[in-house]
């Protein structure tokens, strides 16, 4: 019995050691929650906002930066606008694009159309790209997200942004429209519905076009916040310019939703 207890105690000690190291010896990183498809109002979006949406998807949902980074796992895209024209003339190019925009679209959905030397799948002699089709699989971009990324890539590489913001999908059927009009129940739903996170840091989203709203309640009262939503250009935060935020929310939001959002932001103090 003594040996049994000794062995049991020793085993528990070892397990505790591994448990303790895993809990306290390494940083506790909370992995991102599963991606959710955000509803954005494309009709009200400016091109700058569309580009910002592209950047957000490039860094986030698309997980593009996992490979397209300074570590050399995949080609850098900071000059993609300029090199696209050369690649379309390359003898190894297998695609049908004629413009930079078409080339970028092709690269996103048929990445093997042109594989940069040294970045192909092992054993394929750079004829097959390891990159997945971004419209399928675990990334699953929709048309707007794909075009937004193209807009971002054109903009960030210094070339002309030729992408047009896709038109909104036709209005849903009557029954669905009624469901859509049902009042939202939480501030997070309001934020998701109106795409606030596309431009602002708010509710776990990381937009950078507008002011960071994660602690806005610490410095601004409810009246200020209400006005900022209804009449965004009334007071412009330092470092930002007028005309960036659409003045449509007074018409789009229900009064109850507006108040939920104002209360949420006013309570965001830490």
């Amino acid at each position: 019995m003594t040996n049994f207890l000794k062995v049991a105690f020793f085993s528990l000690l070892v397990i505790s050691g591994f448990w303790g190291f895993s809990n306290f010896g390494i940083p506790q990183i909370k992995p991102a929650d599963p991606p959710v498809e955000e509803k954005v109002d494309l009709g009200a979006m400016t091109m700058d906002q569309f580009i910002a949406l592209g950047k957000k998807n490039f860094d986030g949902k698309g997980t593009c930066t996992l490979c397209h980074n300074a570590l050399g796992r995949a080609p850098m895209l900071d000059k993609i606008g300029a090199v696209a024209a050369e690649r379309m003339k390359d003898a190894r190019y297998k695609g049908a694009a004629k413009t930079v925009e078409e080339y970028l679209m092709e690269s996103l959905v048929k990445p093997s159309a042109f594989v940069v030397a040294g970045f192909g799948k092992s054993g394929t002699n750079d004829t097959e790209s390891p990159m997945p089709d971004v419209t399928g699989g675990s990334i699953g971009f929709n048309e707007a997200e794909t075009k937004a990324v193209i807009a971002y890539l054109q903009d960030s590489s210094g070339s002309e942004v030729t992408v047009e913001i896709p038109k909104m999908a036709p209005p849903p059927a009557e029954g669905a429209a009624k469901a859509e009009e049902a009042p939202l129940k939480t501030a997070e739903e309001v934020i998701a519905r109106h795409g606030c996170g596309g431009c602002h840091k708010i509710a776990g989203q990381t937009g950078e076009m507008g002011p960071d709203l994660t602690r806005i309640g610490a410095t601004r009262n409810k009246e200020y916040l209400r006005q900022a939503i209804l009449d965004p250009d009334a007071v412009i935060a330092k470092g930002f310019t007028a005309g960036m935020m659409p003045k449509i929310y007074g018409e789009q939001m229900k009064a109850k939703e507006l108040e939920m959002l104002v209360n949420y932001m006013a309570g965001s103090k830490k």
């Binding site: 085993s11 070892v14 591994f18 895993s22 990183i29 992995p31």
Partner: protein, 631 residues
């Protein structure tokens, strides 16, 4: 005993069979979200097309798959939280996680033990040394009770899956029904062969009967491996689904689903890992019995058994990193995104924990060997060298332990001040880690060589030349491993950084194989320096065997999580999304909690099995209790 085992096994088996085959029939035709998914599939097909044709239209490869002609498979359902049954107070993911992991631990053990039992029995036959035969029998005896537990846990796992993840189970069962049927039959075959093998051990002794018994051992291993390979196919299909289109419509035959991209890499990895794991568990058994032994002979027997178990664990541990490397390389080849998420994304810190665990494995295995050198006075001459081996092992462990680029977000990149740590970054890259692993392996092998030589003196005339050749081989090999690591690590670009791994591995294997061959010839007919005292081991050495077993169990739990967790929010990668509230990827602290709980449960059950094997040999004579029988 036989009847009890048969009852338990058959009971669990029937539960599992019932679960497998009745579930699709009992399941409602379609739940709300499944109906929605089907409707969506139909809607996406041309308007005039009837519903079944819509599925076929989504699967262009269907025409090329003969077996698919007869069956039309549905697309993967799009589930919401409402589609997952719940039981108040029970976390379904944790329940399935723990039961699956316990099943896997026991399964790995019972598949592995017959492998080395077969080899030990064959060695006994070849050498006519009965001690080997007795040891092999004792090993298989331990695995018999574990076999019953494996079956029970397998049945429980099937029920948990059906209960908590009915749509996933239904989808998988439709694709794999053929192999599930084969699995059921093989389970019967495994049980039959195992029981004949175990209970017939003393019956099938001597002459041709022994050959028959050995053949049964071979058959047992063949069936056991087949069972494991079939189960592996289900889990690897969830990682790298084959013969499915983007909507999850299956358009192949059972073999196509089984032979998915990661099936063979997992098969190889699990066979090797199971042997190492099985060795560590029977090592713990021997240690437990050694510590409990009252007589000198018993201690000697279990010391010898522990030594052999440790040898088996180390022998399988040496190639294990290579099998793991091959698996990871194949995972990268299957999906670079998945590979980078694994090694450079949210799972990257797990590999630092893994380094600690494998470090514990190597250090405990080596420590046991060093303690074992105390069995003979002849080993004292090697003692001064041990500290250098220990230093190399610790340094190699620390290099392996060093993190490199674990960047998850841009803000983390900024915090770190770049992709590499200022001072330690150079040690964190894969070539440095590969170099460290190869050093660990080579020096562990050196420990083993010292142990083997400890009590012997070579008598061949060329002994000096042989030693010189081995020293030259080790030196040249280590220089080669270092140069390969440094060159590829710091003088080539990222794409070629891992190119050193294969020649480094080959160098290590050459050192091990050539040295073993030289040693075998050099120490043929060698003189013993002093008597070998089996049983002359300090009790602390036995705790090294326990450390080996517990570390291995915890490590398997952790890596089991990685294998499964790499799918993130997908039940089946990219085609069947997890819509449950538990679809999130947990933080490492949470993972460590579950793995620790699982390990405690497993170790408690294992110690229970050890205890059962102890009481099964006891025979208490209850004087005066039974009526005297007339002669």
């Amino acid at each position: 005993m036989l009847t009890r085992n048969m009852k338990i096994t058959c009971g669990a088996f029937l539960l599992a069979v019932f679960a497998m085959f009745m579930q699709p029939a009992l399941m409602p035709a379609a739940n709300a979200s499944e109906a929605a998914a089907t409707a969506s599939s139909v809607a996406s097909a041309p308007a005039a097309m009837p519903a079944p044709a819509a599925s076929a239209a989504a699967a262009p490869a269907t025409a090329a798959a003969p077996a698919a002609h007869a069956v039309t498979y549905p697309p993967a359902p799009k589930l919401t939280a409402a589609d997952y049954p719940t039981i108040p107070g029970v976390n379904s993911r944790v329940a399935v996680w723990l039961v699956a992991q316990l099943h896997l631990w026991f399964g790995a053990f019972v598949v592995a033990v017959p492998m080395f039992v077969f080899i030990i029995e064959a060695i006994g036959m070849a050498t006519r040394d009965e001690r080997y035969d007795n040891m092999a029998y004792e090993f298989i005896k331990v695995s018999i009770t574990a076999y019953s537990l494996t079956a029970i846990l397998g049945g429980l796992l099937s029920f948990c899956l059906i209960l908590f993840y009915p749509d996933l189970f239904k989808y998988m069962a439709l694709i794999f029904k053929g192999s599930m049927w084969a699995y059921a039959l093989l389970f019967f075959a495994e049980s039959a062969v195992l029981y004949i093998y175990y209970y017939g051990w003393h019956w099938l002794q001597g002459g041709n009967k022994k050959w028959v018994h050995l053949t049964l051992g071979l058959l047992l291993n063949a069936v056991g491996c087949l069972l494991m390979f079939l189960a592996n196919a289900w889990t690897t299909f969830m990682m790298s689904p084959a013969a499915v289109d983007a909507a999850g419509v299956f358009n192949g035959d059972t073999w196509a689903a089984i032979h998915n991209f990661l099936w063979n890499p997992i098969n190889i990895h699990r066979v090797v890992a199971n042997v190492a794991y099985g060795g560590s568990i029977v090592g713990a058994y021997a240690a437990f019995k050694f510590l409990s032994a009252q007589k000198k002979e018993e201690r000697a027997h279990y010391d010898w058994m522990g030594y052999n178990a440790n040898f088996i664990a180390i022998a399988a541990l040496l190639p294990l990193p290579f099998a793991g490397y091959y698996l990871t390389a194949e995972l990268y080849a299957y999906s670079q995104q998945m590979g980078i998420t694994l090694m450079g994304g949210v799972f990257a810190w797990i590999f630092i924990i893994q380094a600690v665990l494998i470090g514990a494995l190597f250090l405990s295995a080596n420590y046991y060997l060093w303690c074992g050198m105390g069995r003979s006075e002849g080993a004292y001459r090697y003692n001064p060298r041990i500290k250098y081996i220990a230093i190399v092992l610790v340094v190699a462990f620390l290099v392996w332990f060093t993190p490199h680029t674990l960047v998850l977000t841009n803000s983390e990149l900024k915090d770190l001040g770049g992709p590499y740590h200022k001072y330690l970054g150079v040690l964190g890259i894969m070539p440095a880690k590969n170099t460290a692993v190869n050093y660990l392996l080579v020096f562990t092998f050196l420990s083993f060589m010292f142990y083997r030589r400890a009590n012997k003196v070579a008598t061949v005339s060329w002994a000096a030349a042989g030693n010189a050749a081995q020293i030259a081989l080790f030196t040249a090999g280590l220089i080669n491993i270092t140069i390969l690591g440094v060159y590829h690590g710091y003088f080539t670009n990222t794409v070629y950084k891992v190119a050193a791994s294969i020649p480094q591995v080959l160098t290590t294997l050459v050192i091990i194989i050539v040295s073993t061959i030289i040693d075998a010839f050099m120490y043929k007919g060698a003189k013993d320096v002093a008597p070998l005292h089996w049983g002359r081991m300090p009790p602390r050495s036995q705790y090294a065997l326990f450390l080996l077993a517990v570390s291995f169990t915890w490590l398997m739990g952790l890596m089991g999580y990685v294998r499964s967790g790499i799918r993130q929010h997908w039940h089946i990668s990219n085609i069947f999304r997890d819509g449950s509230p538990d679809a999130f990827t947990p933080g490492l602290g949470y993972v460590a909690n579950i793995v620790s709980i699982g390990t405690i449960m497993f170790m408690a059950m294992v110690i229970f099995v050890f205890w059962l094997s102890t009481i099964s040999g006891k025979h208490v004579v209850a004087k005066g209790y039974w009526k005297e029988q007339q002669a």
